[in-house]
């Protein structure tokens, strides 16, 4: 099954100044968002295979669009995250079916590698509901400078029978990291943690 997509949105967020200090080069985060029709809106469906297949499609589509928005080679991506908001006629598990079983593999292909868990968030919501997409380094979850989140929101989604799915990719960490911990140049990138 393929996703019935109503909207595709890309947001590129560049921070050039933080607390009065120049950020050169700017830190950058890109969100690629799809608003799709929820095939199971209004019904309790035991088998969520159709949504898992949609997750696989969207991992590829949104992963590539986020990387393209940053204008970088896939290997230059540094952190990532994913999230979904389910419209009120659906259930939270619909977000889980999209996000967890199959979305990760094509997303990792889009950013080259990706040894670390893709951090995620999910919720129920209506049009205009914001969601914070958690972010972590793509190869080593403990890189402290890359713990972050990006808030995304669409004024008209998700409607009751829709699901909003967001993938965020960055080419950088927080603007002024200075709380110690594992740094990106110390990453071994084997176990996904360090």
């Amino acid at each position: 099954m393929s996703a019935k997509i109503r909207r595709l949105v890309t947001m590129l967020d560049e921070t050039h100044l933080e607390m009065g200090r120049d950020i050169v080069p700017p830190t950058r985060r890109a969100a690629a968002i799809a608003v799709i029709v929820n095939p199971f809106a209004g019904v309790y469906q035991a088998d969520l295979e159709a949504l898992m297949a949609i997750g696989e499609e969207l991992g590829d589509l949104l992963g590539r669009r986020a990387v393209a928005a940053l204008g970088i080679a896939p290997g230059a991506a540094e952190s990532y995250g994913k999230a979904a908001i389910v419209g009120e006629a659906g259930e939270l598990e619909h977000a889980a079916a999209i996000l967890h079983p199959r979305l990760g593999k094509p997303l990792r292909a889009a950013v080259e590698k990706g040894a670390a868990l893709v951090p995620s968030a999910k919720k129920m919501g209506g049009p205009g509901t914001p969601i914070d997409v958690p972010l972590g380094h793509k190869d080593a979850a403990y890189v402290r400078s890359h713990f972050d989140a990006m808030e995304v929101r669409l004024n008209d989604a998700p409607r009751a029978n829709e699901i909003l799915v967001a993938v965020v990719v960055t080419d950088s960490g927080r603007p002024l990291p200075r709380i110690g911990g594992l740094t990106k140049d110390q990453v071994e990138g084997k176990d996904g943690l360090r």
Binding site: L48, E93, S120, A121, K122, P177, L193
Partner: protein, 196 residues
């Protein structure tokens, strides 16, 4: 209130009890709990290069919040299966101030929950009074347990003011109420690396 030099204006605790979400009623309801502490941001309004000392200073507050939250969820530490954390920094602060919460928030919960193995998932943002934040949740011993991936939205109408930070911890007592998308189960955890 003051804990180890951290000025606290208020605590807020939220408990959700979920019985079903349109599907079969679960035999055991899922409880999701959050605690928020609204504290003064000592670095508001200026760029302070050395903010690290505050990280250790926050540790007792982290522990106090973990204990309060566990108590609000019934007090049985073995019932806690998922966790997460986050911070909203008031408008006169900087995103990096929120990052100070990683170590004290994470370690406090892991210590209280008998050295839970998994990394504590997190989010942070800048916000104003009324801003809400989604706190991501994963299993406390194995981050890849699929049924426990979740999130809880938290916010307060009166915080954070410009010179404040809102620090948040979340704990849950089980998987999503209608979890059925396969993957690693809590019963299959090896619990060695924090992942599986």
């Amino acid at each position: 209130m003051n804990i180890n030099g951290i000025e606290i204006r208020k605590f807020a605790t939220f408990i959700e009890e979920i019985f079903h979400e349109g599907g079969p009623v679960a035999s055991k309801p899922l409880k999701m709990g959050a605690i928020a502490a609204v504290i003064r941001n000592p670095f508001a309004g200026r760029y302070e290069p050395n903010i690290l000392p505050m990280m250790d200073q926050l540790r007792p507050l982290g522990l106090e919040m973990s204990k309060r939250l566990a108590r609000a969820l019934g007090g049985d530490l073995t019932a806690i299966e998922g966790f997460g954390k986050g911070a909203i920094v008031g408008a006169a602060g900087e995103l990096e101030h929120g990052a100070l919460w990683h170590v004290p928030g994470g370690y406090a919960m892991r210590d209280l929950l008998s050295n839970a193995k998994a990394i504590v998932p997190s989010t942070k943002k800048i916000g104003v009074p009324g801003t809400r934040i989604d706190i991501p949740v994963t299993h406390i011993n194995a981050a890849y347990v699929r049924g426990h991936f979740n999130a809880m939205e938290v916010g307060l109408s009166d915080a954070p003011r410009a010179d404040e930070m809102m620090l948040v911890l979340v704990m849950t007592t089980g998987p999503r109420i209608h979890n059925r998308v396969g993957g690693l189960k809590a019963s299959e955890i090896k619990g060695e690396d924090g992942l599986r």
